[in-house]
């Protein structure tokens, strides 16, 4: 016996309309970014120079990589406050391994160290069952402490012979962009595809959106979280390599506090800290926006006394605009 129900999908035009609105609402933050870009292009003659754009991307690389890692963790419903400690520790390991082998092996070692540290963080959080915020906070203290122990609190350098090679990430490359920028763009593109197109990506959203539903569907929630932390660890290690390559050295205090800027960038981009939503491109937009605001101020030469106030107001403007556009079309 079967009873027919009314077909109740909206009329086709309405569907397209609503889908268009749906698209629009997702890009409020991009609109905010565009407005700021236009304002800067009009008010300075240095902003839209290729030199400045190259710098801008170069300045975005580190925070962009960290924000990407943060976004992936946040989508899956966890925070990774170890990011900057992992960055420091893996950069140090990279330099130290590089001293006894060669620079490239050292860089590889840094990335492997980042992944391993991510694995440890994830395992600690998952196994202890502790909230990721405090779990990763404690873990990050351990990592920073280890970094101090490894270096004895001093700065570590690559061998003099390889110092030049070690600086490779600062070299100009394709289209005049720095190698760091290229690496950053490639990694973020890969991760964007992983998150938006693969089954792993879907699991990530499912775990972050409703961990219990995910578990009941047979998803290993724990391993998804561990993997998210590992990806974040690799992003941190890469960011660490960029910073070390720029400084020509590594030290235990590198980038301290930057995990919060990274989370801020992720959230400014529009990823919800509640998990289950967000996207890698949003990390990029958020990081770009934050960098851009700083860059703009520097180029405009405004008094730095007002800079912080205005930066805060601009961020507020950007996220509020994003929020309102989204709400209006909901």
């Amino acid at each position: 016996m079967s009873v027919d129900t009314l077909p109740k999908t909206a009329a086709p035009e309405a569907g397209n309309m609503s889908r268009l609105a749906f698209r629009m609402r997702d890009y409020g933050i991009v609109a905010a970014l565009v407005i700021i870009v236009i304002a800067l292009s009009v008010s300075t003659d240095t902003f839209l120079t290729s030199g400045n754009l190259v710098n801008l991307l170069d300045q975005t690389a580190v925070i962009g990589l960290l924000a990407t890692g943060a976004t992936i963790c946040i989508i899956s419903g966890v925070f990774d406050l170890t990011a900057s400690a992992t960055l420091a520790l893996s950069a140090i390991i990279g330099v130290q391994v590089g001293r006894v082998t060669d620079v490239y092996v050292g860089m590889l070692a840094a990335v492997v160290a980042g992944a391993l540290l991510g694995f440890v963080t994830g395992t600690v959080v998952v196994r202890s069952g502790v909230n990721s915020f405090v779990g990763t906070l404690a873990t990050s203290m351990v990592y920073r402490g280890l970094a101090v122990m490894v270096t004895g609190g001093a700065i570590v350098y690559p061998l003099t012979a390889s110092a030049e090679t070690f600086g490779m990430l600062t070299w100009p490359s394709l289209f005049g962009l720095t190698s760091a920028t290229i690496m950053f763009v490639v990694v973020v593109a890969i991760l964007a595809v992983v998150v938006s197109r693969t089954t792993f990506g879907r699991r990530l959203y499912a775990v972050g959106g409703n961990a219990e539903a995910a578990r009941l569907s047979g998803i290993r929630v724990g391993s998804i979280h561990v993997t998210a932390f590992m990806i974040s660890g690799v992003c941190s290690a890469l960011a660490g390599l960029i910073l070390a390559s720029r400084a020509g050295s590594a030290q235990s205090t590198m980038a301290s506090g930057m995990e919060l800027t990274a989370i801020a960038a992720a959230v400014v981009g529009g990823t919800s800290i509640l998990g289950g939503e967000g996207a890698v491109w949003r990390a990029l937009v958020g990081a770009l926006l934050l960098t851009l605001i700083g860059n703009g101020f520097n180029l405009l030469g405004w008094d730095t006394i007002y800079q912080q106030v205005l930066q805060g107001l601009l961020i507020l403007f950007a996220v509020t605009m994003d929020r309102w556009l989204r709400k209006r079309t909901r």
């Binding site: 079967s2 129900t5 959203y205 499912a206 959106g209 409703n210 539903a213 569907s217």
Partner: protein, 503 residues
């Protein structure tokens, strides 16, 4: 659905306790392959707990399971899925921000080399939709869907897994009449194809009509397993509560002549809802009927001010509610028992007492302080009158069984002694005995002069309870029927086929 035949299931000595309180003990149960097995019992009897154990969602403290005579460990949902068991849980297990498509194939997405192939999934979903007759938009985010549709998504998911055993925990509680029929037909088809179905429901007629055998649980113990053809609702209820009782709908008292209009709405519009007018008098119960997604819930929300109407007015006692919001509505004496207890009704991690007291906090305070003894008394009384069974009133409300949560939600609004009571699905997930109790409550409140607007997907309930029934279709009123109208007429109106002319 599956090439493999469903196994026979044997449950042996299964028990479970929480914080030292046993909620399930020593359950022995055998289910034959391809059988439809009904599971009934009062709220809190342990039905969901048993199903969760089968589905691997929780671990039993004692006992074991075997499939086809082989001892198996079901320690996790993964294990259960591996054995072909699929659980549709009472609380719902959807990922809010994902689309219908992604939810149906959750963790089972078609993929090529790790890349998700949405197109393949879309095709699979189209096939499933055809077999079930459900209508869902594959691209809609599930958190924007009416609860009935969400339930359909869960059912589609179980089918998509090609499960050999499907355990359904009150799947029909939120479905409208014809969709229930749809589902029951589907269950029969699946069983005929060899799938084993375990069905938990408080609709005894429904269970009797589809199940081969029925097991009754009471206080966590298995009372008896009966053959469906050889028993009656009356006997089942007797086993459920431990003695025979009458389950009859009470008749509402007639509305006194000249009773004033308490609640009136004119030209309400918002989204789907398109021009709803209604009037309810003191002592009157107005039922609203319609299909899933016809805008019944939205109408109630507009009356309460939970959403603000883009057009139209709501009047209480002839006074227009300006600045319409839940606060102003409440101040005017309106209360809304919402449809979704998890999303809109309860604060899950807080205690039963706190939840029940929440909407009437300011009524019991000395200065800024909560009058705790008064609160305890008030909550205790109301809990007794709707029969909330909680081992510990200070425990989080999420540890209560579904039906008891529903009763707490009801109690929370009754505690305010409102003038106008708006109820969305009053007896969802509530056991037979308690359901009768709630009906008595509602008719009793109306008799005392309350104006009631009640939405229910259970047409029998609605017709028995209401003085008048308003039928909505696509957000528009399509007719109003007096007491005594036959269900068929109302359903036909909801579908838009005008066999029975409205008065």
């Amino acid at each position: 659905m599956s090439s493999q035949k469903a196994p026979s299931i044997a449950v042996r000595g299964v028990g479970k306790s929480y914080s030292g309180v046993s909620v399930l003990h020593d359950i022995d149960l055998d289910i034959a392959p391809g059988e439809v097995h009904g599971l009934v019992g009062e709220n809190g009897a342990g039905k969901s707990t048993l199903l969760k154990i089968l589905g691997g969602a929780i671990k039993a403290d004692a006992g074991g399971l075997s499939f086809d005579g082989e001892q198996v460990t079901v320690g996790s949902p993964r294990d259960a899925i591996k054995h072909g068991i699929s659980l549709i849980s009472q609380e719902g297990a959807l990922v809010p921000a994902l689309s219908v498509l992604d939810n149906v194939f959750l963790a089972r997405w078609s993929h090529r080399g790790g890349l998700v192939s949405a197109r393949a999934d879309r095709k699979r979903l189209a096939g499933l939709i055809e077999t079930t007759g459900f209508t869902v938009d594959p691209d809609a985010r599930v958190d924007g869907l009416p609860i009935g549709v969400q339930q359909q998504v869960e059912i589609l998911r179980s089918l998509a897994r090609g499960a050999r055993v499907i355990a359904m925990d009150e799947p029909t509680a939120v479905l409208a009449e014809h969709e229930k029929e749809n589902l029951l037909a589907l269950i029969r088809t699946l069983a005929a194809g060899g799938t084993t179905i375990i069905l938990v429901s408080h609709f005894l007629e429904e269970v009797l009509s589809v199940a081969d055998r029925i097991t009754v649980l009471r206080d966590g113990a298995l009372i008896r397993t009966l053959t469906a053809g050889e028993t009656s609702p009356r006997e089942l209820v007797g086993h459920m509560v431990g003695r025979e009782i009458d389950v009859l709908y009470p008749d509402p008292q007639p509305v006194p002549d000249g009773a004033p209009v308490v609640l009136a709405a004119r030209g309400l519009r918002r989204g789907l809802v398109n021009g709803v007018d209604l009037e309810v008098r003191a002592g009157e119960i107005l039922g609203i009927a319609g299909l899933v997604g016809s805008g019944r819930t939205e109408t109630l929300r507009l009356l309460f001010g939970a959403d603000r109407a883009t057009d139209g007015v709501v009047e209480v006692d002839g006074v227009t509610l300006a600045q319409h919001s839940p606060r102003t509505a409440m101040a005017a004496g309106v209360a809304l028992v919402p449809e979704s207890r998890k999303e809109q009704g309860l604060v899950m991690q807080r205690s039963v007492a706190e939840n029940v007291a929440l909407s009437s906090l300011s009524g019991r305070r000395t200065g800024p302080f909560v009058k705790r003894p008064a609160e305890k008394t008030a909550v205790g009384e109301i809990a007794k009158s709707v029969d909330i069974r909680a081992a510990d009133p200070e425990a989080p409300i999420e540890t209560l069984s579904g039906g008891n949560q529903q009763k707490a939600l009801f109690a929370k609004w009754l505690l305010r002694k409102p003038k106008v009571l708006l109820i969305d699905e009053p007896t969802r997930g509530v056991d037979v005995a308690a359901k009768t109790q709630i009906h008595h409550l509602i008719t009793g409140l109306a008799a005392d002069g309350m104006a009631v607007v009640c939405v229910s997907s259970e047409i029998e309930e609605l017709l028995a309870l209401s003085h008048r029934v308003l039928v909505l279709r696509h957000g528009e009123p399509v007719g109003e029927y007096p007491r005594g109208t036959s269900p068929e007429v109302v359903i036909a109106a909801a579908f838009g086929s005008h066999e029975g002319e409205p008065r």
